[in-house]
Amino acid sequence: MTDTTKEPLLKVEHLSKEFPAESGMIAGRFSKRVVSAVKDISFEIYPGETFGLVGESGCGKSTTGRSIMRLTNPTAGHVYFEGKDVAQMNSKELKAMRREMQFVFQDPQASLNPRMTIGEIVSEPMVIHGIGTKEERIERVRELLDVVGLNPEHINRYPHEFSGGQRQRIGIARAFALRPKLIICDEPVSALDVSIQAQVLNLLKDLQDHFGTAYLFIAHDLSVVQHISDRVAVMYLGKIVEISDWKTLYTEPHHPYTQSLLSAVPVPDPDVQKTRKRIILPGDPPSPIDPPSGCRFHTRCPIAQAVCSEEQPELREVAPGHFCACHCAAVNPIKETSIEL
């Protein structure tokens, strides 16, 4: 659970990441244009908590995760891990930092080397960081496989011999091999069937209770993020539009985008589904190459006012621990039960 009295484990300050816009046949003219994938976002993660990052594809949530671990170099801003700026680290410091910060990837098929046994895969982080003797490492791998619910006898099998859910367990065992303080989970369950998804979510929760690891949990599925997270940030087109604890976000969503996301999540219950309020957003998210002026959401926002296209809203504290970036939410909340296509 969140303990805000402690020092944050990870502090992200005004992080931005821009990619050069693709050069193609019409390259020259557009060479100065950039894809603004992440724009000026800030948040903290405290030891042992799960911080959820939710948004649609292309909103910059994965780029945020990758920038934090410096798998990609941020354009501007700072990432402090245990007080040290990740952006300033040299390769030696980076290696030490990555011992404390690990990654679980979305696609368990692509992130496991098909030519390595799962024993080799799970022990690789320990080999890289020179931990233990060979025998000790094997012992540790067996322990880890047992913890994630795989048979330690299968240590010499290859990834293709496992199902999708089991492969994701291997990826999780590898992330836990170094007992890191923070694990960045980038869509860890979105490739899995719903029944298997529940197995993996329970496993992540159990491991957190056991090891006290903090998670940055990145996903597009709001119900999954809410289930696992202590606090949640909602991203839209590279900006954080709302941050709060999971319960407040669910019961008192402030930002019109959060409200529409919540209302769009299908509920497996016909009575609820037929009676609840739904906000259907028109159109597609705009391109991050040329994001809308002012509030980036104003082009699809059902309550947008003139000010929204001119001024960028700041992330303001609307209640203790609850931040929202919207000009209008407080004065003009959504009243209509559904907005037409």
Binding site: S57, S223, D269
Partner: protein, 375 residues
């Protein structure tokens, strides 16, 4: 000046023979004969569908929900596939006995399909207008110009802005949600009787998913066609489906109306699917109840009930004897030995109806002081 092939009568204009439904699938079995053995991909599927109805087909990957409908459409290569038993009747005519030529008239004209991945199901080198109009040229004998006009109209109908311009663009110029709209326009071009949608929203974001589902419902209201919605997400079919078929290991394990499946389910697999979905809890978070283990291989099905190895309630008989369908008066059936045991049914998950509590995901009451600020 539509030149219609006069040797062929559109089946969808024919009345449904007495005692028949629009679509009847009757104990359909289709096995793949492979080097590794016989894969029992479709193993005894039965259902009926009428105009204006929506059938939801739910199950995990590999449960046979897509293969069943590919078989119905005649899209499975035979061999390795082989129809072992059963029949599929559309307006009283057997689809399995039709020649390939006749099937070509059915596909797209009477029964149309939308696939999961809109990128791979559109041809990247043809303009959108040509692809949407293709069915009209083929089935209705439209001229190029007529087809393009109708395609423009269809694109407008599915909510694509400035369709006159968009018909001349290529698939890569469309976003994922827009491509799926194009697929829907294409499927609806010939005004089909039945629309089979295979995971139409799985590749899309949740806000776009909501748009597409609304669109499909709207089109159904307008055209009165039947929809078969194949999905792994029970949430998607909750407000859409009239009937739901839950599939496991190539066979339907439960079939009933949406209310029966969600509120009076009689199969532990359906219970497991419902319990696996994270609940939008308002007060406290409860751990999820997953289904343990993995779906079985369709080559080596376990003896007895195929779900028994993963079923938390399985007893000896489940491992020995394959359960029959136990049918209620309303036609709700379940392939579980204990489906008519009231004591057993007490294990079913509680739902909003039994709890009498409705979570809306939206604040119900907004502060009246704040609602006056409309500009």
């Amino acid at each position: 000046m539509a030149k219609k092939k006069n040797d062929y009568v559109d089946l969808k204009t024919q009345p449904i023979p007495e005692g028949h439904h629009l679509l009847e699938v009757d104990n359909l079995k289709m096995f793949f004969h492979t080097e590794d053995g016989v894969v029992k991909a479709v193993n005894g599927v039965s259902y009926t569908l009428d105009r204006g109805e929506t059938l939801g087909v739910v199950g995990e990957s590999g449960s046979g929900k897509s293969v069943t409908h590919m078989t119905i459409m005649g899209l499975i290569d035979m061999p390795p596939g082989k129809i072992e038993e059963g029949d599929v009747r559309y307006r009283g005519r057997s689809l399995l006995e039709m020649s390939e030529q006749e099937m070509q008239h059915i596909r797209g004209n009477d029964i149309a399909m939308i696939f999961q991945d809109p990128m791979t199901s559109l041809n990247p080198v043809y303009k959108i207008g040509r692809q949407v109009g293709e069915g009209l040229r083929l089935h209705r004998g439209y001229s190029k110009k007529e087809a393009l006009e109708r395609a423009t109209e269809l694109l407008r109908l599915v909510g694509i802005p400035s369709p006159e311009k968009r018909v001349n663009e290529y698939p890569h110029q469309f976003s994922g949600g827009m491509r799926q709209r194009v697929m829907i326009a294409m499927a609806l071009a010939c005004d089909p009787d039945i629309l089979i949608a295979d995971e139409p929203t799985t590749a899309l974001d949740v806000t776009i998913q909501a748009q597409i589902i609304e669109l499909m419902k709207e089109m159904q209201e307008k055209n009165g066609n039947a929809i078969i919605m194949i999905t792994h997400d029970l949430g998607v079919v909750a407000d859409m489906a009239d009937k739901i078929m839950v599939m496991y290991a190539g066979r339907p394990v439960e079939f009933g109306t949406a209310d029966e499946i969600f509120y009076e389910s009689r199969h532990p697999y359906t219970w497991g699917l419902i319990r696996s979905i994270p609940e939008q809890a308002i007060d406290e978070k409860k751990p999820l109840t997953p289904i343990h283990g993995n779906p079985p291989s369709l080559v080596n099905l376990p003896s007895g009930c195929p779900f028994a190895p993963r079923c938390p309630y399985a007893v000896d008989i489940c491992h020995q004897k394959e359960p029959e369908h136990i049918v209620t008066e309303t036609g709700h059936y379940s392939a579980c030995h204990f489906a008519d045991d009231p004591e057993f049914l007490k294990f079913a998950p509680d739902t909003s109806r039994s709890r009498g509590k409705i979570a809306t995901g939206m604040p119900d009451t907004l502060d009246p002081d704040l609602t006056g600020g409309e500009a």
